[in-house]
Point group: C2
Chain length 397, copies 2
């Protein structure tokens, strides 16, 4: 049997030890012995997790590997956006190089797929899209990258951006991005018309950054839900952050939740500790698909973050006061199967027939893997080892 | 010159490289050359930080090194307290062994001082106090431990506890603990009378766990402030958690803040992501001393936590939305000088004359040390190396 490996003594989700037969990049069988001539890798009793997924990254923004950026930025959203646009050029934040660096760190931490928002604006044009596409091509055998064309500096308030977004989608960006329809563009109807128009034209899903809190966010969320229902885009729209779902008015949140469910709109939360946030358990109980990601890391917005999705899962758990093992298992489900559902990944998981994207870590249980975040012992992507003992085999520029 | 070492090329708080001359356990000089015969240790440009302090630990509770504890505990405070009291015996959570394990991890992570609350109740009696005292004695040259006699299961509602608290203080516990005067004992006046009585009898400071949120917590906080002023105990009382300071009523919070300042009452916050929390920047701006600690870690209450005070500082920063370098420096000041002030540590810091308790880490700036949490390169306690490259020289049982 060619192109095959048997991984023995691995414990799926912390259960009993078993074996995984990988062939031609897919999981062929669980629990069997090695067919003749197939090499055996001893998992040593490690926990087996499906490939971790980062469903909300900003690969083009990170400053990892560059000199420390002294953050003296003002408190408003617009301060951070304008500061970033100016600093990008001044500091030479190269989208290709920086994406590549973050991808290599993500590979080392066991991430198999990334959805990255990538800035499109009238200063940088399509330069960031091109840079991330170049990095994605370079590491295509180690990690899958999905690109969201993201109008970070506004869509309607910066004429020319819509045409650039259109071009980014033509070039191969997979998702239409959006940003605070009311708060940023000051024209929620116009903003939503524009991005739903792009999605319709290119036949692509939508992922909108919705920072708007409280009743303003609820208004934009409801407008989005209405459009999804009117246009039949159920299952194809994600609202990232959605701080409005953390507002104190539980009746309003309940009504929005029912709307999200009906429209099949997904919610992305990073578990931000300093903002009101969606309640993960309640959304999931209602049937809404929840996904998560690391968001920006070590960039001009803020210094925090590692590409480690187990650390992100811990932060989501801390924010949601998840203490029980079943609650932490739910958080990991968000960071794996929830993310896969939102990104519509085919054949994701640990069942026979799935792509052989998985991670081995030394931990007794799923909960321990999340809170201890051990070095990844082995990371496998489509059947090939791509990282070992916390180090990616690929190199970063 | 005997008992001396010169550490060269170290950068205090990330500034210019300098040298530190250590002699007889104290910092003797900064910036000089090596006197004849004094061994030189090359710091290699590492960041120099004063010993990190954990001002709120529960050394007797951790389950590190034991089999994974599957958490299926209910959501109320009393569920966690009663579950813990039962599980302690069933699982054999030995206070000496577990304290020792956590202390060795703390040493490895650069912690020079710990204030630990230690359970006193009518089941365990003084067993936990004795166990932590034994561990403290064993590691006395590597780390300093201060013990708070803590009535975790209630003071007045469990007759006999007050007498045990009295005995714990007589045995050498340094601080009188308390817990939710209204919420736990259902008798705020009685609870506060009892612990202020103990403090007066033994001449010791007070540290009260105040989980009570909103107006109830504000009531207990104000009662505490009133007693401090009436009894002249300014500077000697800490209110841990103080979730009531995170309530939406900013006028009430402002009034409490003025009371805290007048009474010299300190506030301990862990930066809990799932509860309302005190605003660190506003309290400090008002002149209130803020301290922080890791709280319980990997125990029957919850699975989270590492003994790493840089990670705690990051969590405080995330919760308070600290993004700027000056804000992160403030967070580290809380975890070092703020904690030292609350624990009334003499000769703490990096100035000549201070105890030589310090940490070297490979980081460009203080902010980077907090967000990246690098392995501690070298940890020095009273002039002696106690940990290197993330490993304590002492061993745990």
């Amino acid at each position: 049997m060619e192109n095959a490996t048997l991984y023995t003594r691995v414990r799926p989700a912390g259960g009993e030890p078993t074996s995984v037969l990988v062939r031609d990049g897919r999981i062929q069988a669980l629990g069997g012995a090695a067919p003749e001539g197939v090499p055996v890798v001893d998992g040593g009793g490690a926990l087996l997790l499906p490939g971790l997924i980062d469903a909300h990254a900003h690969l083009d923004k990170t400053m990892y590997g560059m000199p420390w950026y002294r953050n003296e930025v003002g408190p408003r959203l617009i301060d951070k956006i304008e500061n970033e646009r100016a600093e990008k050029t001044r500091l030479g934040i190269d989208p290709y190089r920086q994406s590549a660096r973050q991808l290599v760190m993500s590979i080392a931490d066991g991430t198999s797929h990334v959805r990255s928002h990538v800035d499109v604006d009238t200063d940088i044009g399509l330069g960031a899209i091109e840079g991330v596409m170049r990095a994605r091509e370079q590491y295509r055998d180690q990690i899958d990258v999905e690109i969201v064309a993201f109008p970070q500096s506004g869509l309607l308030i910066r004429p020319g951006t819509l045409e650039l977004m259109d071009e980014a989608l033509r070039m191969g960006a997979e998702v239409v991005g959006g940003l605070d329809p009311a708060g940023m563009d000051r024209d929620p109807k116009g903003h939503l018309d524009a991005i739903f128009g792009l999605a319709d034209k290119h036949g692509k899903p939508i992922d909108i950054h919705l920072h708007e809190a409280g009743e303003l966010g609820a208004f934009s969320m409801q407008m989005t839900i209405d459009r999804v229902l009117a246009l039949g885009m159920q299952g194809k729209v994600t609202l990232s952050h959605s701080f409005c779902l953390g507002m104190p008015d539980t009746q309003a949140v309940q009504a929005l939740t029912e709307g999200l469910l009906e429209a099949g709109v997904h919610i992305m939360t990073t578990g931000s500790a300093s903002r009101p946030v969606p309640n993960v358990a309640r959304l999931r109980q209602a049937g809404v698909t929840v996904c998560t990601g690391n968001d920006g890391m070590r960039d001009t917005w803020g210094p925090y973050g590692k590409p480690d999705m187990l650390e992100r899962t811990m932060l989501v758990g801390l924010r949601n006061n998840f203490r029980r093992d079943d609650e932490l298992a739910m958080a990991l489900d968000v960071a794996t199967y929830g993310n896969a559902r939102v990104m519509q990944l085919a054949d994701y998981g640990l069942a026979p027939g799935c792509h052989a994207d998985f991670v081995l870590v030394d931990a007794e249980t799923v909960a321990e893997a999340i809170v201890a975040r051990p070095v990844r012992k082995l990371v496998v992507k489509r059947g090939r080892v791509v990282a070992r003992d916390g180090r990616a085999l690929a190199e970063a520029p």
